[in-house]
Amino acid sequence: MFGLVGAPQLAFCWINDLRRFVLIALPYFWLLALFLVPFVIVFKIALSDAALAIPPYMPTMKDGLSAMFLQLDFENFVFLTEDDLYWKAYLSSLRIAFISTVLTLLFGYPIAYAMARAPHEWRATLMMLIILPFWTSFLIRVYAWIGILSTEGLLNRFLFWIGVISEPLTILNTSTAVYIGIVYTYIPFMILPIYAALERLDASLIEAAEDLGCSRMKAFWLITIPLSKGGIVAGCFLVFIPALGEFVIPSLLGGSGTLMIGKVLFEEFFSNRDWPVASAVAVILLLILIVPIILFQRNEQRQQDAEG
């Protein structure tokens, strides 16, 4: 009997092995070629001379690996430390990303909290209303604020009309406009994880605390906040990480006075055409991002472990 089925069985296995190989190899090699290799090139260019790195920079790789390492130089990184534009841009990106994250948390938490307390039959709709803006064009959502925040824009005319101001406020082209833009576009990322954490929260814990003489405020600080900490941390990273490398928002709303590293990189590349410096800027941005990304992943892991 084994003799009868042996041969086709073997062919069958062979085909399955081939299928398994293709299944793994196709996405694997795609990402290797279009994600990992490009990074190696960025690192390579960041460590090479401007003269060598202008378009036909590939020949420098042809000389073999040893030559490639011999040609490495840290000139571009030294340049970054010498020109204070870059330091300022990194620091200002960190500051803007941090302040916007705090603001997003302050505005997002009450919304998430109210959603978690809303009647069950509303929740799916509320969720959809939070996610819906995410599906609309990011560029358009940022653009919408130009008309609102400009000197003769709608916000100024509204404030003037209700008599709060007599002189138009300058909001567009300041960092305030960038904060508004970041809070506006990233607030769904803050609300969703916090909402998910609050929805799982057992209401009887708060009732118990109140029965035992806790004031409502105290119960909130002692129970609700600690139990939604996982969601808060996740939300903060989901806002902070993309905000740090943001390009569109500071370019459209921040004007020339707002320095952010994503903008500097873009301009270094497209306006100054200095590829090695742009690559070095990218490498340092990546190094700055590694810390929050690792912290974020650890938080997610802990959360999964706690659930499992």
Partner: protein
């Protein structure tokens, strides 16, 4: 907890007003007669007319649509394969690297992804245009598809697949007949996500393209840099309208689907109890 305090009501009202008012204003002002976007001068649809006769915008829209359809379809196939490999594939050489490469693009700043891809395309001497934007978009959106699909794969009952294998199906048949129909909703939402990401992308496309191809976000970008224009308002309103109706239809369909599933489950329970 089903009692909303006044503070909750206020935060919901302000929250949703904050999210939706800017877009609403954009749509209202797209019907403004005046060229000045902040002064209301009466109702008019003339900006829609001008937009639809603007060849450059129509060309860019066509390029964008082409890129989005092709890249999201390839990304869905590759992303589903990657998800299956990660969840069901067991051990293989370089698995950690593979999952790292799936998750890294999700948090990578667009400027870095764009820069690195451009350097690659120039390095291998590839002509930049529609083709290179498709490659770039496929690469980052397959990672999003893979995350969506793998979360579905991780939650469904593996015994169904094992039963099919025990009954003599090949792994491929088990995938096609059992797994694929079950994960289909996730695959569809992965495709939709990839499609919108591609439609929306400005930064990566700006890096990946050459002079031959301009996408709609790039076109919007270059005119928005010069300030607010009523034509862009009209274009934005069309896009917002399309997305809103798409999402509403999708949610109605999935709601009907979940109601049907619930009914079937209830019927099955009754059957078991009898």
């Amino acid at each position: 907890m089903n009692r909303l305090s006044p503070f909750n009501v206020v935060s919901l009202t302000f929250g949703f007003a904050f999210l939706y008012l800017p877009m609403l204003i954009l749509v209202i002002y797209s019907f403004n007669k005046s060229k000045l976007v902040t002064v209301w001068a009466g109702f008019s649809t003339k900006w829609y007319g001008e937009l639809l006769s603007n060849e450059a915008f129509l060309d860019a829209a066509w390029v964008t649509l082409k890129v989005a359809v092709i890249s999201s379809s390839i990304a869905t196939v590759l992303g589903t394969m990657a998800a299956y490999t990660l969840v069901r594939g067991g051990r293989f050489f370089g698995r950690t690297l593979f999952s790292g490469m799936i998750y890294a693009p999700l948090v990578m700043p667009e400027v870095i992804t764009g820069l690195s891809l451009l350097l690659l395309f120039i390095g291998v001497g590839m002509d930049r245009g529609v083709m290179t934007i498709v490659l770039a978009h496929t690469t980052f959106s397959m990672c999003f598809v893979s995350v969506v699909v793998s979360s579905r794969l991780a939650t469904f009952d593996r015994a169904l697949e094992e039963a099919a294998l025990d009954l003599g199906a090949s792994p491929f048949e088990a995938f096609r007949l059992i797994t694929l129909p079950i994960i289909a909703p996730a695959v569809v939402s992965g495709w939709l996500l990839a499609f919108t990401l591609s439609l929306d992308d400005l930064v990566i496309a700006s890096f990946a393209t050459g002079p031959s191809a301009t996408t709609l976000p790039m076109k919007i970008w270059s005119s928005v840099r010069l300030g607010v224009s009523p034509e862009i308002n009209a274009l934005s309103s069309i896009l917002i309208g399309l997305v809103a109706s798409g999402v509403i239809i999708a949610s109605l369909v999935s709601k009907r689907h979940s109601v049907r599933v619930q009914q079937e489950e209830r019927a099955a329970e009754r059957f078991e109890n009898d």
